[in-house]
């Protein structure tokens, strides 16, 4: 199959279908509801939201494919790369190169605090003049960190990375540690995962190879997360566990609203607010200067929200 924007977005739609089906089966109680939306300037999306399930309290699996005049900040963003810049004429007369961006984004907030929050995103961007980027990532935010699950999660990612390049896992794992970081708290959002962007400007110009890796990231999501659901869904929990879940969700909100580039990009470019902010949990909480009890599971989890832990 030829790889072009049509085939890529078609593949992403099929991925969205497959992931929604897996999640519905794993949940066993609720179904996704779909909303199609159109972007005035070009393109649109297919937002799928699930709520009040047996396992999933609130989650979204979003597909979008948007296009149009390349906004200014994308030139600024790409100024350090080899991408074409608009000529003075293009700027003056607003003859702008066209861009196309498509992707799938997922955030799942479970009810049971023993089941982790997960996020996955894969995206493709192209612009007139031959610019093509692939980006993506998966990261896990357990409310309580269990070693076995952390090892399983990172091994899944390492295995898929190793099939494509021996350096990918270590490089993209570090990138995730740096990206999913809540600076003001000096905490990582969770146990990280992998993150990568502009794969084609990173010295590797083999688009087909990059694309195959990127597809594997998308395909890894469902089996990895449904396994984590199966392992933890029957665990019991207390009110105290639920209170802690609220605080961890509060941190998730802090990361997404303050640091997440996708959220910022979306809100600043007048994106569809309800789709962008589907990543926020049904409820979250903040307590002044909360300190977990000595030697509690909460304290243990906090002590592991650090960069550069070798989970495997």
């Amino acid at each position: 199959m030829e790889i072009n924007k049509e085939t890529i977005s078609e593949w992403l739609k099929n991925l969205q279908d497959a992931i929604c089906l897996s999640l519905e089966n794993a949940d066993g109680g609720s179904k996704f509801e779909e909303e199609n939306w159109i972007r005035k300037e070009g393109g649109g999306g297919r937002t799928r939201i699930i709520k009040e399930g047996n396992i999933i309290e609130k989650g979204g699996v979003l597909f979008s494919a948007v296009s149009g005049d390349t906004p200014d900040f994308l030139f600024k963003e790409s100024a350090h790369s080899a991408s074409p810049q608009p000529s003075p004429e293009e700027r003056e007369f607003s003859i702008r190169p066209q861009f196309f961006a498509t992707g799938v984004s997922i955030v799942i907030h479970p009810k049971n605090p023993m089941v982790p929050i997960i996020h996955m995103n894969i995206r493709y961007f192209e612009m007139d003049g031959g610019v093509k980027w692939l980006g993506g990532g998966i990261d896990l935010t357990p409310h309580y960190i269990f070693d076995d699950d952390a090892i399983f999660f990172h091994s899944q990612l390492k295995n898929l990375c190793d099939k494509h390049h021996k350096d990918y896992y270590s490089k993209f794992k570090k990138w995730a540690d740096d990206y999913f970081y809540i600076s003001h708290r000096k905490e990582t959002r969770g146990i990280g995962g992998i993150f990568f962007d502009r794969l084609n400007t990173e010295g590797n110009m083999n688009f087909e190879k990059n694309f195959a890796f990127w597809q594997d990231v998308g395909k890894a999501f469902a089996p990895t997360y449904t396994e984590l659901i199966t392992r933890n869904k029957h665990k019991s929990f207390t009110e105290k566990n639920k209170d802690w879940q609220l605080l961890r969700r509060g941190r998730y909100v802090e990361f997404n609203l303050i640091y997440d580039k996708g959220t910022k990009f979306g809100l600043e470019t007048n994106g569809r607010v309800e789709s962008i902010l589907m990543s926020l949990p049904k409820t979250a909480g903040w307590e002044y200067d909360f300190k977990p009890e000595k030697n509690s599971e909460e304290e243990m989890t906090l002590s592991l929200l650090k960069k550069d832990i070798d989970w495997i």
Copy 2:
């Protein structure tokens, strides 16, 4: 009394005391707890937090007075004003003008959704070379907007403004509408109030007069808010009202984490995180694409979250 940084911060501490006392009396159930903190680079603060009261679920009344080398961004910030810029030598050898900043900041989140959230802040800033600024504001965020309360609140502010300058209320009311605005939602945070900054660079160089106005803003807080508590604390509410309160608090979180300059300033300059984020509610919520019922009180409230409403 001579007005200088010592007498200003002393006055602010007394204001903090008086406000805490009024709020404890109005609450009748809980007391403030105090935490003193020291800033490594100079100065510190007195953070007072109240929680789980009869009326107040979570609130803070914060005093701080910090000093030290003026950070870079403050030069940038003041580039459009008449403030002195560092000379090349000062930049090169890091001989920096000293700054001093002091203020009181308040956010109160009540339990009962019929009682409004309130915020107040007054601040004073000075820098070597004679720069002096006064700033502040009060704004109200009712979960449900009641006309009588909105008229009372804005009349209180107009009365205090009118004592000092005939244009203050209209000017500072507009400033609050523009400042307390959640752009991506196209909603104001609440019914606004007044907001002003750099009073001394606004063409009015009479510091004593400005200071008297600024003091009146601080003094207006307690009688205004305790009246709003008295009016609404006995109103009954339902689960549906509590759910709506969660969503309104979610919007409050969005404003504070995405737009509020004080929060941004604090987090970026490595301020005391727990004091900065005391403004966040104990709990908040998000629901995908929530639409209030036709002709409901929630819809009525939403319809009034607009700029430029003449409340009086």
